[in-house]
Symmetry: C2
Subunit: 243 residues, 2 copies
DNA sequence: AAAACGCTTCGGCCACGCCCGAACCATCGC
DNA sequence: GCGATGGTTCGGGCGTGGCCGAAGCGTTTT
């Protein structure tokens, strides 16, 4: 019977030390690359690749391609809860104090400016872009589900209030059948959380440049926030700006 | 670091098919013998013994000796919850419908009378004894924790109202320093749930015989409920009697 | 006392699965 | 186009751990 076999199999997947370490590293909800997970588990990338394939095939992890990177994250909140309960029991049993430091695993480039704000293809990324997306999600203006994001009514109004030409975005996404969706989430390689991409992301980005809120820093994809942007974006998105 | 190792180890313990089956068989809270668990897992008793030793040493299971039997049960509610969450995830993943029939695993002697009511050493056992204990627990008259039960104030009054001589019990438990506790839970081999043992259990049993509520059936340890007992016990413990 | 039963320990067999080296695609930067 | 980097696939080595037969211990039963 599948029942018992899937039960044992699921636990066995978590039971391997290497996989357990990888899952633990993902427990904060971020998405990590195979290499980073390999490092977290103390194994070589090719071994990690095998483990990740198993975990993904079993449905414990979800994977999203992004350029030459592949970001892995826990597939569902239920998985996180299961890991949580296992950790809880494990803590009770053997090792007294546990659960504490889940080291954030040094990640991404050290370039401060890049981490703060940059372009990602045609849209914005970095801490500020992620903060903008999360703020909109909190306000119920956007739905950031992993496959396919969508503006709500409030979100449309908010964007228009900012001066973003959503009609242009709509037209752009309608132009070609393939390759251009209206609004989608994009995984940030420094923050490991989604920001806004797709036609909406592109137009939002253009608006920020057009209004003089952001300015490209030459020779890099980093982006600087202008004094005007500090005011406008800070107010609209309740952003905390970099010193 | 212990943190991660205990985490993986705990999951690995659940991850073995044989152990997973045994744990699953214990998920309803009953306590089973090694042989029954071996049968449930489809392995030989000696193999099961090894697994049970691991699970017990790790603290996932608790074991209580009783004569030549050893009853194994989940150590804590937390363990049950962990298994629950794993089953939940496993159900979501592979096998569509799961969780259903957890077959009660044919167990114990088939003798109907014995299962209904009998003596266990010097106290009562069987469905009726378990029902009595559980009723008292529900009413807050007794605490049935696995190691060491205790009557509450309400329980003392209730027992005395039944005509049970608790002073005699107290004296008996005081007589010898070792071997005779005032009140303790005893695992029932047919119901697999605790009933009342210790001096209190013994005196309660004697009272039932003295009052003519119960009668020993000759040549066996089975016990019959008399018409008088049907009335008295039925009312006091809200018992549903056997046809 | 002897036999039956429950359970455990010991010893050896066997295989599953983890791991890495090497080679092979895909994507990005120049 | 080229190298560099991230990632996967393939092959074989190797150890850990499950499994059972046989023997031993403790308890219960007759």
């Amino acid at each position: 019977m599948l029942s018992t076999s899937m039960f044992a199999e699921t636990a066995a997947l978590v039971g391997d030390p290497a996989r357990a370490n990888m899952l633990g590293a993902l427990m904060d909800g971020r998405a990590l690359t195979a290499k980073e997970l390999a490092q977290a588990a103390g194994i070589t990338p090719q071994t990690a690749s095998g483990h990740l394939a198993q975990l993904t095939r079993a449905g414990l992890l979800a994977m999203e391609r992004q350029g030459r990177h592949r970001y892995h994250r826990l597939a569902t909140p239920g998985v996180a809860q299961m890991l949580e309960s296992i950790m809880s029991v494990a803590a009770d049993l053997g090792g007294e104090g546990e659960a504490r430091r889940r080291r954030p695993a040094v990640t991404g480039p050290r370039d401060k400016a890049l981490r703060e704000a940059r372009t990602c293809y045609d849209h914005l990324a970095g801490r500020i872009a992620v903060a903008m997306a999360e703020r909109m999600a909190e306000q119920g203006q956007i739905d950031l589900s992993p496959d396919g994001a969508a503006l709500t009514e409030d979100g449309v109004a908010f964007m228009q209030g900012l001066g973003v030409d959503l009609e242009a975005a709509r037209a752009r996404s309608a132009r070609r059948g393939s390759g251009r969706v209206f609004c989608r989430p994009c995984l940030d390689w420094s923050e490991r959380r989604p920001h806004i991409a797709g036609a909406v992301g592109a137009v939002l980005c253009e608006t920020c440049f057009a209004k003089g809120w952001l300015r490209r820093m030459q020779g890099t994809r980093a982006v600087a926030v202008t004094p005007a942007g500090r005011m406008a974006l800070g107010r609209a998105f309740a952003l905390r700006m970099e010193g």
